[in-house]
Structures are given as C-alpha cells and as structure tokens.
C-alpha cells in the first residue's frame, strides 16, 4: 500500500522480527566458530578460512530450511502467519550469509594460483561425468545466483514493476535453489567427512521442508474440494446465518478464481480473494476500521469498491451478489478491479451495524 517506495517500511514488529533473526544467526556463528573449537581439541586447528566458510555455509543452509518451513506452517496453522510477515528480511540475510560462505571459499581454495580465482572456480574441477568427485561447487554457484536474484528483487518496487504473478513465479525459484543446495552438500561435504552429525541434521532439515509442504498441499486440496463451485452463472456461497459480521466466506469458482464474500455492518459485498500485493488470501483477513485487511502484510481495501484507501492505489476485482431467501449467490463474472458495487442488504441482518 505504498505510494512511494522507500527501501524498507519499518515498524515495531519488523524490528522484533529482525532482532530475533539476527540474534539467532549471530549465536549460531559464534558458537560454531568460537565455542566449538575448544571442545574439538584438534592438534592443529582447521584453517580459519575453511572454518569460517563451513560455519557460514552451514548457517545459510539452516536459515534456508527455517525459511522454507514458515510457508507451509502458516498454511497449516494461521497462528504462524506473523512468521511470514517479515520473511523477506530473513531471506535477504540468508543471501548475505551465503555470499560470505562463497567468499571465504573462493578466497582460499581458489586463490593463490596464477589464474583468476573466479575462472579457477569454473575450470579447476571438470569431472562432470562422475558422481564421486563431481564439481559440487557448481550447485552452490547456481543456488547463490538465485539467492542473489531473489534478494535483489525482494522489494515491493520490483513486485509492482514485474507484476505480482511474475514476481511470485520468479520467487518460486527458491525451491530449485534449495534442491541445488541439497545437491551441493550431498556431493560435497557429505562425501568427505567421517563425522555424521551433519548428515543427520542435513537430512532431517530436508525431510522437514518436504514433509511440511506435502502436508500443507494435502490440506489445501481437501479444503479446495469443499469450496469448489459448479459451472453455473450464479454460484451459491453459503447461508447468511453462517456468516459473521466483519468476516468472509471464500468460494472457489470453476475458473480457478476465489471470491471473498464479506458481511460488513449487515450488508454483503464480494471482492477477489487475491490481494494485489502478493496474492494473500483476503477472505482469511477481517474488516478493521471498515476496511478488509489482508492477513499477510495488512494491505487494506474498501469492501464495496475493492480499492485501497487514498493515498494508496491498489485495486482488486469486485463481484456482483444477490440473495435468494437467506442464500447468498455470487455472479461468476468478475468486475474490473476497483468497480464499485452497491452492498446487498443481508436478509435477517438488517438491524446490525
């Protein structure tokens, strides 16, 4: 809902979010780098460059795993939505940690030769046709490239510029990136070490990410089946008696679009369920100060017109409604974004305001 783009719009919750995240990351690195070596008691320590590289690499992996768990967790239980709220800062931080990892590696393993270190990274190992000894660095480069693209385009400016659907599609690249990190580690350090603690943590993390996504997808499919409408012109949404003032019922139309039908002060209005910001589910939000408020990042819309209040300019499509007895029906044809539709009095709710 921004009129002018400033790098980050701060608020108390974001400060808390970032402080907790940074504290966690700092503690991980501190413990790995300074507390653990005393326990290790190696005769001679691991070179600090390699030690640093490993700490930052492992940290980036753990961070990425946590980030990828937040989405399905919030879909499974909306109480986790606050973790989603500022996830982008988490992602950008992960990118910095991963860059640091790669930096230590390139400045150590690939330095000191007569060639350029970045060229050396590409030509030093060319055993692409074998599994053992495969140049696992290539997977790291791919993942890092994606992380940098995602971090660089993470700001709302880019979302507007690229359009939310395209932006979202680009940001799904986080999944190939994660798989690539999994390959990077599986073909790299897991082939090399005697101690298998990392293998356990690593596989646990990857399985957790996969499992949560599967659970969320299954739950969503069940929910969608219950919501799916027949292919008629007017679709039955619910009975007025099922509705609560300030909240919505969602209907999945045959074309794939979702409608959020709100009851607001005894009158019914319908808008698209997809928030203009990042497709957040508007029907899972609520009306605050007479405005529909998105549960993801709090963008707001006038329920009758689908427009964000001035000075903001976001718009979502609206839908026509009618009632038959106490049944609420919605017209499957969406109105252009921002079209005002006179709210329909809800039978039996006229007294409420």
């Amino acid at each position: 809902m921004s009129v002018k783009y400033i790098p980050v719009q701060w608020n108390t919750n974001k400060y808390i979010y970032d402080a907790v995240m940074l504290l966690g990351v700092a503690l991980f690195l501190y413990v790995f780098l300074y507390a653990a070596p005393d326990i290790l008691s190696h005769e001679r320590p691991i070179n600090s460059q390699v030690h640093n590289a490993r700490a930052f690499g492992a940290c980036a992996f753990v961070m990425l795993t946590v980030i990828l768990c937040i989405g399905p967790l919030a879909r499974l239980d909306p109480r986790f939505l606050p973790l989603l709220y500022n996830r982008r800062h988490f992602g950008v931080m992960t990118t910095f940690v991963a860059i640091t990892h790669a930096g230590y590696i390139v400045d150590w393993y690939f330095a000191f030769s007569s060639s350029n270190k970045y060229e050396a990274l590409l030509f030093a190992n060319t055993s692409y046709s074998q599994l053992a000894g495969f140049p696992f660095e290539a997977f790291g480069i791919f993942a890092l490239f994606i992380l940098i693209v995602l971090a660089a385009t993470s700001h709302d400016f880019w979302m507007k510029f690229l359009s939310p659907p395209l932006w979202k599609r680009i940001h799904y690249l986080i999944y190939p990136a994660y798989l690539s990190v999994v390959a990077h580690v599986s073909f790299g350090i897991l082939q090399d070490q005697q101690n298998h603690v990392f293998t356990g943590i690593f596989m646990g993390g990857a399985v957790l990410v996969g499992g949560l996504h599967l659970m969320a997808a299954l739950q969503e499919r069940r929910a969608d089946q219950a919501l799916l409408a027949p292919t008629t012109e007017w679709v039955h949404v619910c009975d007025v008696s099922e509705m609560k003032d300030g909240f919505a019922k969602i209907k999945l139309l045959a074309g794939g679009d979702r409608v959020a039908v709100y009851l607001n002060a005894g009158k019914l209005s319908a808008i698209s369920n997809a928030c203009a910001h990042q497709n957040g589910p508007l029907g899972e939000g609520k009306i605050i100060d007479c405005l529909v408020t998105c549960p993801w990042h709090g963008f707001q819309y006038d329920v009758a017109s689908g427009r964000s209040p001035a000075p903001f300019t976001e718009k979502v499509p609206t839908y026509n409604l009618k009632t038959e007895g106490t049944a609420v029906l919605v017209d499957v044809k969406a109105n252009p974004p921002g079209t005002y539709v006179e709210p329909v009095p809800a039978p039996g709710q006229e007294g409420i305001s």
Partner: protein
C-alpha cells in the same frame, strides 16, 4: 476461514495478546535452536591432521643435486639439523606455483635452495623464496646420486596435491578439497599418492606420468578419491617416486 475468536495479526499494529505466548515460544525455540545447531555442527568437524608450514623452524637453506622427475627434487648433500644429507626434498613455489623455470637450467647440478618447510609426519616439502634467493647454482663437485628401481606395484590410496597435504592447508585432502587440489596440480605442484599400505616403509609417494612426465590429464578425474592404480616405483634417496600407469586407474569404495 476466519472467525471472531482467532487472534488476527496485522504487521503494523500491536501483536494480539492471544498470539504473544506462541510467538515468544517460537522466538525462544528459534534462538536456542540455532545456537544448538551451531554447537552440534561446530563440534562435528573432522580433525584436519597435523600438517603445517613450519615458520617456527625459520628459513631453511641446504645444498644438493637438482633432479627433474619432471617435478623438481633436491637430493640433499649438505644439510642442516632439520634437513639432513641424504634427504630428498620436493620443491614448490609460493601459492599454487612451481619452480620448474628456475630448476630446469640447474638439472644435474649442485644448487643451494632456501625457503620455508611444510611438514606432515614423514612428508615434507620446501617452498622456495623468490628468484635466485630461492635456488641458485652452488660451487663444488657433483657427487654420484643413485636411483633404485623397486619394480611394478599395485597400490590403493588417494592422489593429493603434495603441498596442501604437507600443510599448506588444513584440511588439505579429501573430496571437498578436490577442486583446490586440481588447481595446485595444474600449477605443477608435486602430486603425492597416499598409500593405505606402506611401500618399502613409506606411505607417501611422489606421482608422475608413466614416462616421467607431469600428472596425466586422466588422473585429474581421480584426484581426492579412494582409488587403486599400478605403476613403477623407484627410490630416490628417502623419497619414493611412482610412475603411474593411467590405464590402471580404478575407483574403489
């Protein structure tokens, strides 16, 4: 779908009371979880071995006969307390470079070398200083130096770059370090085979191509893996040299 009883979080508004407990728990779990993983992963690091640059020995200067395998060696004739006469030193330049351009003109001649030692157990190497300070012709009669053939061997072990292995890096071997090892070997740093069974008392052997050339291209795909290979072994002082036959390379597991 939403209902009245569920707390509703809006980022720019104060967090609903009903959510605060859960979110606090998540924060505590997150912070302690990350410290815990940091500890678990930090103490799971393998011992990188005891190889090191021996700066503590100070600069080493010895004299001997230069040989090319083609990797340059010094058969020490006039040693010191760290590097006795009769020892054979592998020679390397700074970083991932070699000293061939300086050693080739001195082949078969007496030379004085000077530099920093790298040492890991029985394996060592000398990293020479720059230019003529590192290696220069020495006065004197060239003594008779012999090379003793030990026949053909089949060995199991790992091809490493001798310099990282000897202590330029810790860890300096293994698959995570493979690209780094390759880069050293491309820079003609002496390759060393670490044999699982000692050959004539030694587990480290300098590796060359079958006819005394640099490491064959094919061997690069086998660097840092557990492999078997065959080749002719010869003794040059206290150093063994393995002329590997690339057609016999095989990955073991």
């Amino acid at each position: 779908m939403s209902d009245n009883d569920k707390p509703f979080f809006v980022g720019y508004l104060p967090t609903p009371k009903a959510l605060r407990g859960l979110l606090l728990a998540v924060c505590v779990l997150f912070i302690s979880g990350l410290s815990g993983f940091g500890l678990a992963l930090g103490v799971a690091q393998d011992d990188p071995g005891d190889g090191a640059f021996r700066f503590d020995y100070g600069r080493q200067t010895v004299t001997g006969v230069v040989e090319l395998t083609p990797y340059p060696l010094l058969r020490v004739t006039e040693g010191n307390e760290r590097i006795p006469a009769g020892h054979t030193l592998m020679l390397a330049g700074g970083g991932k470079t070699n000293v061939e351009s300086r050693a080739i003109p001195l082949e078969g001649q007496l030379a004085q070398v000077s530099g920093t030692m790298l040492q890991r157990g029985a394996l060592d190497m000398l990293q020479l200083r720059g230019g003529a300070n590192g290696i220069s012709a020495a006065e004197g009669e060239v003594p008779q130096i012999e090379t003793v053939p030990l026949g053909r061997w089949k060995l199991a072990g790992e091809i490493c770059d001798g310099k990282c292995l000897a202590g330029a890096m810790r860890p300096g071997r293994g698959l995570a370090h493979k690209a780094c090892a390759n880069l050293c070997l491309l820079g003609k740093v002496p390759p060393v085979f670490v044999s699982t069974q000692p050959v004539d008392g030694s587990e480290f052997l300098l590796v060359t191509g079958p006819n005394g050339e640099h490491l064959p291209e094919k061997a690069y795909h086998y660097v840092a893996q557990f492999i078997s290979l065959e080749g002719d072994v010869e003794r040059r002082g206290d150093l063994l040299v393995l002329r590997m036959d690339p057609d016999t390379l095989e990955v073991l597991d």
